[in-house]
C-alpha cells in the first residue's frame, strides 16, 4: 500500500529516513517497508518451478492435473506429458511477498509490503515415463470373456475418468497405452479381451476367411461380424480385426452413389501381426521348448496363403537357442517379465546366461523412459564381452562371479 495519509505517512517516512541515516546510507529510492502479514504462519503458499515451455503450455491448457494415490509419489500431467514432482529444500529463506516491486528507476515513493510466507521448499518438475504399468493389470480385471460374465465383472470395469483417477499419466499417454494394449471402448468402458477368448475369436475369424475364400487383404468387417455373431459379439470381432489389420481406404466407395457394398468396411490384415499371432498360439500351446525347424514348419503351415513366417515376427515373444543341437525355440513373452529393471535382468539371465545384443534388446525396450537408453541399462546391469565370430556384443550378469 502507498502511504499517502499525511500523519501516518510522514511519521513512517521519518522513521525510515532515520533508519537510513543511522545506517549511513543516502540516496535511497524505491523504498518498500517490509512487514510480516497479519496471517503469517497460517498462509499456505507454495512454489513450483515452471520452465518457459511449461508456462506456455499452462497458458494454453489453463490447467494441469496432479495425480497420485496414497503412497505413490505425485505426478503432474499436462494434456500429453507426465512429470515427477520433486520437493527441493533450500538452505536459504524464500520470502514470498505480494506486489513486491523490482523497479529500479529511482522514485521517491515509499510503500509497505507484507510477507505472506517464508518457504524453504519448492517443487521441481522432471519429465518422466507415464506410469502405465498398472494399466494392464487394471484392465485385465475386467477382461471380456463372454457375455455370461458381464454382470459379475461390472464392478471392475473402468471408464476414461476411472482410469485417469488410478493411472499416473496424461490423457494422451493413457490413450497411447490403451491403444498399445489393444483396448476398445465398449459401452463407455475400456475393455481388453481375455487372452484365451481372443485366441478363439481370432481363430474363428481366420477359419472363416478360409471357408469363404476371402482374401486376407480385403476382409469385409461387417459381414464377418454378422456371420460370427452367434459365436462372439460384434465388438469382439471388430476389435480383433482392428488389432490385426488396418482399414482399407476405399476410393471406389467415394465415387459410387448407390452400391450394395456401400456400407461395408474392408480390413487388410497385417502380415506381421497375423504371423505373430499364429507363432504365439503354437508356442504357448505347449509349455517348454520346441525343436526350431519343426516349429518353423508347423508355423508356416498354419498361415493364410501369401504370408511368410519369419523369426523377426516373434521379437519379444520367443528365445532362440542355436548353441544346442537341435536348435530350440522357447516361449518367452516380454509382457510377463518383471517391470523393475534389476528383477528383469535377473530373470533373463536365469533363462540363459549369455545374451547377444540383438536378442536382448526386445526384452528391454518397454523399460525405457524419456532421456534413457537401452545401452545405459545394459551398462548398468551387465558385463559385456565381444563375440569373436560375429564381432557383436554379448552380455552376462554382473552378479555371477
Amino acid at each position: 500500500m502507498i502511504i499517502d495519509d499525511v500523519d501516518n505517512g510522514e511519521s513512517l517516512k521519518e522513521a525510515v529516513k532515520l533508519r537510513c541515516e543511522e545506517a549511513n546510507l543516502d540516496n535511497l529510492n524505491n523504498t518498500q517497508v517490509l512487514y510480516f502479514d497479519q496471517n503469517f504462519g497460517n498462509n499456505d503458499v507454495r512454489l513450483i518451478e515452471l520452465s518457459p515451455e511449461l508456462l506456455e503450455k499452462l497458458k494454453e491448457e489453463t490447467q494441469f492435473v496432479l495425480r497420485g494415490e496414497g503412497s505413490e509419489d505425485a505426478v503432474l500431467c499436462t494434456s500429453d506429458k507426465t512429470y515427477a514432482v520433486k520437493e527441493c529444500t533450500t538452505s536459504n529463506s524464500l520470502l514470498l511477498i505480494p506486489d513486491l516491486s523490482t523497479e529500479v528507476t529511482p522514485s521517491d515513493e515509499l510503500t509497505c509490503k507484507s510477507v505472506s510466507t517464508t518457504n524453504f521448499v519448492y517443487y521441481e518438475l522432471k519429465l518422466c515415463r507415464a506410469k502405465l504399468d498398472k494399466l494392464r493389470t487394471v484392465l485385465n480385471r475386467s477382461a471380456y470373456r463372454g457375455e455370461e460374465n458381464e454382470v459379475a465383472d461390472q464392478g471392475h470395469k473402468c471408464t476414461t475418468e476411472d482410469l485417469l483417477g488410478i493411472i499416473q499419466a496424461s490423457q494422451q499417454e493413457l490413450r497411447g497405452g490403451l491403444d498399445e494394449l489393444g483396448a476398445i471402448e465398449y459401452n463407455g468402458y475400456w475393455r481388453v479381451i481375455e487372452h484365451d477368448y481372443k485366441t478363439s475369436a481370432m481363430s474363428r475369424i481366420l477359419t472363416l476367411l478360409e471357408e469363404k475364400a476371402w482374401s486376407w487383404e480385403r476382409v469385409p468387417l461387417i459381414a464377418t461380424c454378422r456371420t460370427l455373431e452367434e459365436l462372439q459379439p460384434c465388438f469382439v470381432t471388430e476389435l480383433c480385426l482392428r488389432l490385426y489389420g488396418n482399414q482399407v481406404e476405399s476410393e471406389q466407395a467415394m465415387e459410387e452413389t448407390v452400391d450394395s457394398e456401400g456400407d461395408e468396411v474392408y480390413m487388410k490384415l497385417v502380415e506381421d501381426k497375423v504371423c505373430r499371432f499364429y507363432g504365439e498360439y503354437i508356442l504357448s500351446s505347449t509349455a517348454g521348448k520346441f525343436n526350431l525347424s519343426e516349429f518353423m514348419e508347423v508355423w508356416q503351415d498354419s498361415l493364410p496363403e501369401g504370408m511368410t513366417a519369419a523369426l523377426v515376427h516373434l521379437r519379444g515373444l520367443a528365445l532362440v537357442n542355436r548353441t544346442s543341437v537341435p536348435h530350440l525355440i522357447t516361449y518367452l513373452p516380454a509382457n510377463d517379465l518383471p517391470n523393475n529393471p534389476a528383477e528383469r535382468f535377473s530373470y533373463l539371465f536365469s533363462q540363459q546366461d549369455r545374451w547377444h545384443h540383438d536378442d536382448i534388446i526386445p526384452y528391454l525396450e518397454d523399460l525405457i523412459g524419456p532421456g534413457q537408453t537401452v545401452n545405459a541399462l545394459l551398462l548398468k546391469h551387465c558385463r559385456s564381452t565381444t563375440d569373436q565370430k560375429t564381432k557383436k556384443k554379448v552380455y552376462n550378469s554382473k552378479m555371477r562371479s
Partner: protein, 106 residues
Amino acid sequence: MPEVLLKLKDSLDKWGLIELQGMVECPSSMALQGAHIGDLHIDKTGTPQLVIGHHILTGKIQKLDKPFGVMTRSADDHWNVSAVIHEKYIFKTRPKPIIQKNKPED
C-alpha cells in the same frame, strides 16, 4: 481418487521473492504477525539495500532461469497458480553491522 487441479488464474497477480541466507527466527509465528522486518531500498547505483535491525545487506536482482509459479489454495481443494515470478531479490553477502553515529552534543 479425485484429481487435484493446478489452475492458472485468469488474471495473474504480481508477487515477488526475496532470498536471504539463513532464517528469520522467532519463538512463534504468532509473534511475527504484523511485525516490521526491515526496509528494502534501491540505491543510486541501482543496487538493492536491505536494512534489517542493525544490519545492512547488499544484494542484487536476479532473473530466474526457471520462473516460479506461486501456488495458492483455491476454494474447492484445488490449487491456483496465482502469479508467476520471473526475478528475485537475492542477498548473499554478509550483513554489515550498522554502527550508530554519535549524536553531536548540544
